[in-house]
Symmetry: C2
Amino acid sequence: MKKMLPIPIQTARLQDLFLAPRVALNHQVTLPSCLEHCRKTGRLDAFLLNWRPGQPNKPHIYWDSDVAKVVEGMAWDLMLFPDAERACELDQLAQRIVSAQQPDGYLNTWFTVVEPQNRWQKLYLNHELYCAGHLMEAATAHFQATGKRFFLEAMCRNAECLSRTFGRKAGQLRGYPGHPEIERALCKLAESANRPDFFELASFFIEERGQSPNYFCQEIEREGGHCDPEYFANLLAHKPLRQQSKATGHAVRAMYLYSAMAELAEKQQDKELMTVCEKLWDSVTLQNMYVTGGIGSSEFGEQFTKDYHLPNAAAYAESCAAIGLMMFASRMLNISGNAGYAEILERVLFNAASSGYGLDGKTFFYANLLEVDQNMFTKRKNITAERQPWFNTSCCPTNFCRILPQLACFLFSQLPDGMAIHIPVAASIDLPLPGRRLKLQISSEYPYQGDIEIRVLEDCPQTVLALRIPAWAPKFAIRLNGDACPDTLDNGYLIVQRDWRKGDFLQLQLAMPVECLQAHPKVTENAGRIALRRGPLVYALESIDNGEDLCQILISPKTEFKLEQAHGLPQGTLAIAGTAFREHFTPESSDQLYAARKSFLRKFRFTAIPYALWQNRGPASMRVWIRAMTEPGILSP
Amino acid sequence: MKKMLPIPIQTARLQDLFLAPRVALNHQVTLPSCLEHCRKTGRLDAFLLNWRPGQPNKPHIYWDSDVAKVVEGMAWDLMLFPDAERACELDQLAQRIVSAQQPDGYLNTWFTVVEPQNRWQKLYLNHELYCAGHLMEAATAHFQATGKRFFLEAMCRNAECLSRTFGRKAGQLRGYPGHPEIERALCKLAESANRPDFFELASFFIEERGQSPNYFCQEIEREGGHCDPEYFANLLAHKPLRQQSKATGHAVRAMYLYSAMAELAEKQQDKELMTVCEKLWDSVTLQNMYVTGGIGSSEFGEQFTKDYHLPNAAAYAESCAAIGLMMFASRMLNISGNAGYAEILERVLFNAASSGYGLDGKTFFYANLLEVDQNMFTKRKNITAERQPWFNTSCCPTNFCRILPQLACFLFSQLPDGMAIHIPVAASIDLPLPGRRLKLQISSEYPYQGDIEIRVLEDCPQTVLALRIPAWAPKFAIRLNGDACPDTLDNGYLIVQRDWRKGDFLQLQLAMPVECLQAHPKVTENAGRIALRRGPLVYALESIDNGEDLCQILISPKTEFKLEQAHGLPQGTLAIAGTAFREHFTPESSDQLYAARKSFLRKFRFTAIPYALWQNRGPASMRVWIRAMTEPGILSP
């Protein structure tokens, strides 16, 4: 299929049961709440540059990024919900940020106020370029939302400062960030400000990374230390990116970097770099991803581990890593037009990423476990059994602030001559195309139901509608104005091209049965277990519906599954119910820790809810991978 | 039963297939090897007190304890294997240690050479009293082995220094150690040197611990910090020990402390303190112990977590904690004469503790996992999939050095009028009793076989033999000189009292079937799984015998188990074999990470080896808890 572009975010207004309420909640609750946290913790005041040693609220090296993400979110949000007061608040915040800029364009509160002597000294450790990147993203969003240029121009001066500092000329540093982000941001800034030179700087950071001699090792050596480049595998800086083919290191950093690599590969028509991206994509999604789309199994270094090492209770699966995978998937999808990327994007969006965001809009998971027994749970740093309002490292809450208002860009793409619908949630669309407007009303109860109607609201000649047929749908049907529809299938998309007339309507039916998924046999912990999925939603057992001891529940793949309104969850939320079995033990062995016990199974009615919605009805135990009651055939040897 | 005492270690000479080779290997390999590590790393030279900043081999706060444990082991070992050269080496080491003692009796290399200004300043953090304790234990062993008093007396002066420093009088510190050990050591020193005042100091450390105001909090506050006593739960100092009833905190520290508490409770006939010990024992063994006897589930703080939280691949189960539990069990056993303590002692000894010690005598596990998939394993600090020759914190190797020569004391106890045989491994016994000697030859292939013959080698009038009947034995039989034996059963022991004549023989038959154990239903990870146990030995599947993907293996409790010589393991090591099933998947879904797969079971012959012996034939995957192939009955609701 032809190359796609993200749609401008204000061209689609979401109206569905799952995503639209989150976008609204972000506006009403999350943005004000995160802004208040930034205020309370001193993150906003840090830009006044008046903190002095001994005062409370000592700035932190990554504080600027939190403020930047809230400001970015406020800007995107303003495009969806225009509001004069919010617009004024946004401008004031942008002005405060800009006020902290130094005469040479440098802008970072930590290295201006706390450690001025250490500017650019420990790139491997500090979040200096990461913060700059988030401020650039905030500036481009502010510009797009308001048309005002002062923040954008300030960040262009900041990028110019970086361009003078980093490069291959004499006197320049051949360094790159410990935490990638600047690469994506420079691409956005280049686009928004029409500054192709910033693409070059992004490309420099990508190409220099992991080259020999290793820049980070040189930083360590400058301090009298010694280290092996392999030490920087967590930062994906142990070898040049073009030589990397396996998901490695810190999952968020990997995703931000891979997204930028894909963008640059496309921009520069660099087939070699695109092949690297494809290999890395396969490694992430075919060997290192939870069924929920979560990535980064290990809390140690928040990183990828070994292929197929996907523990459930000991998962990490950071919310930011899920958001990063959505970005990488969306980028690859738009470049390739291949529905395989949308398949993963959808999986992450409705499961691992949404899990991080509470239905109250003000509590968040940092780590998204796939199994929690609340009676045995020990909270540890960012790993909690209940969503939290804030974290010391609060990247996840603020990432939701900015990603939620942009969701439409992940669902729909602009084609040169039409539009692609990757994820057909209910929405009204008003997309300008050359010489015409594409105005659509999409009606559906997606992701809970597979019946979708797309109604054309205005004549729109010679325009393509590309409808993704999800790989999870065992069958589908399409009708145009109630009749057979002439179409072609391309890369997982049904292509319908015609002179659309006002009142035309497409009806797409996607079969959405409950599936019992098994993991790859190498995923040790899931042997003998199944996960329930229906459409894009992965389901989980929660103790609130099923009692504690979820480990004693067995479900047969032959169960007759029923759908019903989930108790205590938003109207329209479908639970899966049916007959399951619970293993009981005879009482005589009850208090011994280990014994030859007798057990029997008793039928009971189970209820599974969408994974992303667990722990929204109070503290609970939860389990995605459920013991399978199977009667596999026995083959003679 | 009447109160027991540990037998003097030289009164029993082990001759069995399991333990005796380890005792010999410790003599031949482990002690020289650990001594060499101490030499190479600078631990021995540290006692010369001539290290200066900038030099290599900077001492560490717990170095003294490693040397102490090796020296203690050498002393006990000398009692089993007299050797003039070794005796000389031992004396030289003892002299070197003593040479580092300060005029006031203080003895610690770190706080003499590296941080002299910080003596007694950070008890919560440093191992100052822990090192002193191990040196005292070494000194008592040295005295018992050689009869020479110089080391013992030096450590008495050290204990006097502590007695002046710590106490409730004005000017004294009301502190106690961050890492318990001194309490046990002071009891031993008190006994060996006949210094009852050292019992009082031990009692002081026990009673002060966790009292309010919290001493460790005061230390923190002195440094300008602030903390809650709950912070010191890991050190078991969050509340007074008499108010503790749940296994809490660092497992090794807990065991050392509980052992000392039991000793003092007995010494002082303190029933309240003994009740505390019993409650803590129950908490450890009924809710917080692996089937192998391992304890301390979490690498974070090396500690107990929540009841029934016993993850397998994510286990910790430190070797030192297992050794500590043996000490606690042995102490409780001798005090109570109750076979229940021997049951656990035996479980720990043959499984969790022995697992830490490689059959080469020079490699060790620090953490003893119950499940390892070598393809997914990521080494982390002390958590390794292969035994290591040494660790930065090398407490475990040196703990084996000293515990192995003492093993006989854990197997047999002296009664006022005879002997108790807790664990009937083959051994020759020559135990002095008032006015007579008990000379026995115990013949058995225990722990591999349950047939035991005890032959009396000399007339021994009016003497009791107490034979433990293990709880794991579903039946037993005993005969005296081939005939029915008059006996009574007391606290899990068969009591046979008579005028023993040379040539008398007892034949004890313990039924030793293969058992399929299930864990308590609350142990989440073991739901639907079984562990194989036979007699005292827990078995494990190793990939060397069964191929990789151990998670795909199912075993039915109805299997007809066979016993056979284990391939590649010492002669006499019995493996369990039988027909198991392996789950196979149809190839069409092979490369997908998640799919609705088809599987079938194929029979194959499995082999399980004793858990303690895994990873002695090269790198391997291993699994204790095996998927159960059960057909539990289904009850109608």
